[in-house]
């Protein structure tokens, strides 16, 4: 029957036009990083049985599906969270290490050495006002540097807290969008449709969530994605949680609207920010505090035994008046009158024994069997190691991510060569189908002319 040829050809024209639509959609999204290439799954349509024979009925499109490897996607999400953690940590630590201005002549290490040297020099001429002024200036330099380091680290801490807040707002927005997409996708899946582009959009949002916080991602059979963060179900088909930030025991925590405190976030950008805020910076400050407190106590311990260059000489005077909240203060009486620096051990003008003892603190093993400068050097090495380590891990996790991205792209990315081949292929099939109609038409014409 000639009409059957028309039917087969017409169906074929429709199939290859639609296949060309899918190809066109792929080409249009070739540079869209979140896009997953789609393919029209073509199969033979259900055959007809006429006169005991089975007649082929042509071609049909079964479905239009995304080409995706779920295992690679899952690996990508996991490594994306890890890479985000180290990237963010590296960014924040890069700000932290700049605070110490090491190695340079402006660092605390050189200032401490200059301070001790100024005492050594004062011991040569203990009543020299200039040399006493030098000691005060050297102490002020230390005081300023210590205060600057503390203030800068406090600023970075405040910035990280603000960034944590901002990231949580972003996370909330992402969770809300994912919830909306969950609803739309499951509605369409319920009607037998395949909302590929919505799924791509949602996958992109899920990837953003995993890079912000370590999450457990699970796709259910209805087409919804469920994400758990810190032991709490953050989003599913029915709802999305809005998190808020709480400071608790010097740590940054997420809480739900119901007041439930989440387990500590250890991965993603939030994990990195929380780590720098609650662990790294406090650790550096503690170590610096220990060094400055030891300097404060050691200098005062010796200085208070000495005698000032006054008539009569005074004793039991502290060189530093206080060290609180990162602020090292020099005795205001000494600032006003350097003759109140107690350099003499016996009250005579030219005795510089106290100055010598303070100068020698530079060589004393005052903390854990090491000198102050050695301890400070260990602190800086620690800061450098933390930064260097997060750089290395950021680099290596970046390489893994890049490899996974290549694999992901290799499976799901659009190849213009491939798509153009498909265009030609489908165009030829479309042409052939059209030709078939022309042939059937001619056949019909021939028959008509016979009548």
């Amino acid at each position: 029957m000639i009409s059957n040829i028309f039917n087969i050809a017409a169906r074929s024209l429709d199939v290859y036009r639609k296949a060309l639509d899918v190809t066109a959609h792929n080409i249009a999204n070739a540079d869209n990083e979140n896009y997953t290439r789609q393919t029209a799954n073509i199969s033979t349509s259900f055959p007809d049985k006429v006169s005991g024979l089975v007649w082929g009925s042509g071609v049909q499109i079964d479905s239009i599906t995304r080409i995706k490897d779920q295992f690679i996607e899952s690996q990508y999400r996991k490594n994306s969270g890890e890479n985000s953690f180290y990237n963010k940590q590296s960014d924040l630590l890069s700000r932290v290490e700049q605070v110490f201005t090491e190695p340079s002549e402006y660092g605390l290490s050189d200032l401490m050495t200059s301070f001790f040297n100024s005492w050594g020099e004062l011991a040569v001429t203990p009543d020299s006002t200039n040399l006493r002024e030098n000691v005060v200036t050297a102490a002020q330099n230390i005081s300023t540097r210590v205060q600057t380091i503390n203030q800068d680290l406090a600023t970075i801490k405040e910035d990280t807290f603000n960034e944590f807040n901002s990231k949580v707002q972003t996370l909330n927005s992402l969770l809300s969008q994912i919830h909306e997409l969950n609803v739309k996708i499951t509605q369409q899946v319920g009607t037998g449709a395949q909302p590929n582009d919505l799924m791509d959009n949602r996958d992109a949002l899920v990837n953003q969530v995993t890079s912000i916080a370590d999450s457990q991602v699970y796709y259910d059979t209805k087409g919804s994605v469920n994400i758990s963060i810190g032991g709490v179900l953050a989003v599913d088909l029915s709802q999305s949680i809005q998190f808020s930030v709480k400071k608790e025991n010097g740590d940054l925590k997420l809480t739900t609207a119901a007041g439930h405190i989440l387990q500590k976030i250890k991965g993603g950008e939030l994990g990195a920010i929380s780590d720098v805020y609650s662990s790294k910076i406090p650790d550096y400050l503690d170590k610096l505090d220990n060094i400055v407190s030891t300097l404060f106590n050691s200098v005062n311990g010796i200085h208070s035994k000495g005698y000032t260059n006054e008539i009569p000489p005074q004793t039991n005077i502290n060189f530093f008046s206080s060290y609180e909240a990162g602020s090292l203060k020099i005795n205001s009486e000494i600032l006003d009158d350097p003759s109140k620096i107690a350099v003499s051990a016996d009250g005579t003008t030219g005795n510089g024994d106290i100055a010598l003892q303070i100068a020698d603190l530079n060589n004393k093993q005052l903390i854990n069997g090491s000198t102050l400068v050695d301890n400070y050097s260990s602190l800086i090495t620690g800061v450098g190691n933390d930064k260097s380590s997060s750089d290395s891990l950021s680099y290596s996790s970046g390489l893994v991510l890049q490899q996974l991205d290549i694999q992901k792209s290799s499976v799901s990315g659009v190849s213009l060569d491939e798509e153009m081949s498909n265009v030609i292929k489908f165009q030829r099939s479309y042409d052939a189908s059209a030709k078939l109609i022309a042939v059937a038409d001619e056949m019909l014409q021939t028959l008509m002319q016979m009548v």
Binding site: A30, D31, L93, E97, Q98, F100, E102, P103, G107, S109, D110, M112, T113, S114, N117, G120, E121, A123, V124, T125, P126, D127, S344, A345, D346, G347, T348, T349, G350, N351, G352, D353, L356, A359, D360, N363, V373, Y376, S377, I380, T381, G382, V383, G384, N385, K387, S388, D391, D405, I406, S409, S410, G413, V414, S415, L416, D417, E418, M420, S421
Partner: protein, 418 residues
């Protein structure tokens, strides 16, 4: 493997980014001449730089101290040499005065002695960098001068025995002055032991001869009264030949404490042990009393005295001059005191020379140390320019090649041939 267009672009961008990052690092290193600019560039290297820089700066501080010490010691030696030269003149004058062939009065010799005395007094009061050389740790006060009626020369400064010290290396300090007490003063030293088992309230009394400026003999008496464990009250008195005290009011007592573990003096009146100036101006008596070496240990008390000289050189010369003016020759004992002083000043010049040698040797060691540290610092932080420039050149080639190849490959697709 399927290669998509986005993969090619991403790969290209990633490689360009890495090459540019390396280029930027090298560029920054070359311009700053430092290969470590922040701790993460080399955490261990940074720690090493901080420690080396600390060593270098500390060592430079010691060098500066030594330079100051050397200047001070060199001026002190010059001053002592001038004193020794004056003393030689005195000894020559005294030899000539005693020479039987000399005729006439002794006034000319008295003049020579007086000139030498003035020269020695000037040298003893010489200053360097605002500090009296022989004033100990009371260097702002002129150490020696005539008393109010001009009959004797006395110590004016508070503590001419004080040692000025500088730090010259780790845990090492060096005295950089020759004290007035060492050169000119009469020092009565007390050594020996106080019985740590003695009961509170017990008194240990000892005595020795001391001399006034004109050589008159007196008796110096010390009493250590135990007031508590390891603590004593030291009182002293000076009696004339008739046994009468030269003081109308007795000098105040000194509290002496001993370290219970070592038995050494831990302080006098709460301060580190130092010499005590004992004086009785009405009788022209003045000397340093040094008891800082006595100990408190188990066993019977046995304190003893020793003195470097009976009368100091100033008052000895003053006495000799006055005698010569009166037509008298100095006694053999007085001449011997001048000879003793001559020997003493020679010894002090020698010990000052030893200090200078020690300072110079330490300075040499420090300079070597600084040179080594500078080398180590350079190894650790300085950029090897040739290597860095070659690496930069290489990276630049790589960048150009990447651009070239990318420009050839990236725009190509099947579209170009359709």
């Amino acid at each position: 493997m399927r290669i998509t267009d986005l993969m090619s672009v991403d790969n290209y961008l990633l490689n360009i980014k890495r090459v540019k990052e390396s280029l930027s690092t090298l560029q920054s290193q070359i311009s700053s001449q430092k290969k470590i600019q922040k701790p993460s560039d080399s955490p261990d290297g940074t720690g090493k730089i901080i420690r080396l820089q600390n060593q270098f700066n500390t060592s430079s501080g010691y060098s500066k101290n030594i330079e100051n010490g050397l200047s001070y010691m060199n001026v002190t030696i010059t001053s002592m040499e001038s004193i020794q030269s004056s003393i030689t003149d005195v000894l020559t004058a005294l030899a000539n005065a005693n020479n039987a062939t000399v005729t006439g009065g002794l006034d000319a010799f008295a003049d020579q002695v007086n000139n030498a005395l003035d020269a020695i007094l000037n040298a003893a009061n010489e200053k360097f960098n605002g500090k009296y050389l022989f004033a100990g740790t009371d260097y702002s006060t002129m150490p020696f001068g005539y008393n109010s009626d001009g009959s004797a020369i006395e110590i004016k400064a508070g503590n001419i025995s004080g040692e000025q010290k500088i730090q010259i290396s780790k845990n090492v300090t060096q005295k950089i002055n020759i004290t007035g007490e060492e050169v000119f003063g009469t020092v009565v030293k007390q050594t020996g032991n106080l019985d740590s088992g003695a009961v509170v309230g017990s008194v240990q009394t000892n005595q020795t001869s001391v001399y006034s400026a004109d050589g008159t003999e007196y008796t110096f008496i010390t009493n250590y009264t135990k007031t508590a464990a390891n603590t004593y009250a030291l009182t002293y008195d000076i009696h004339d030949s008739g046994g009468a005290s030269v003081y109308s009011t007795p000098p105040s007592s000194q509290q002496i404490t001993f370290n219970s573990a070592t038995g050494e003096i831990s302080g006098i009146n709460g301060k580190p042990a130092s010499s005590l100036i004992v004086e009785a101006p009405s009788h022209n008596i003045q000397f340093s009393f040094n008891s800082s070496n006595i100990k408190e240990t188990a066993g019977a008390s046995n304190l003893s005295f020793s003195a470097n000289q009976q009368v100091d050189i100033f008052n000895t010369l003053l006495t000799i001059k006055n005698k010569l003016l009166n037509g008298e020759l100095p006694t053999e004992e007085e001449t011997a005191r001048v000879q003793n002083f001559n020997q003493n000043i020679l010894n002090k010049i020698s010990s000052a020379g030893n200090i200078v040698n020690k300072l110079q040797d330490t300075q040499d060691v420090l300079e070597n140390q600084q040179s080594v540290i500078t080398g180590l610092l350079s190894d650790e932080q300085d950029v090897d320019e040739a290597k860095a420039i070659l690496e930069m050149q290489n990276l630049d080639y790589m960048l150009q090649v990447t651009y070239q190849i990318s420009s050839m490959i990236l725009p190509r697709s099947l579209l170009d041939y359709l």
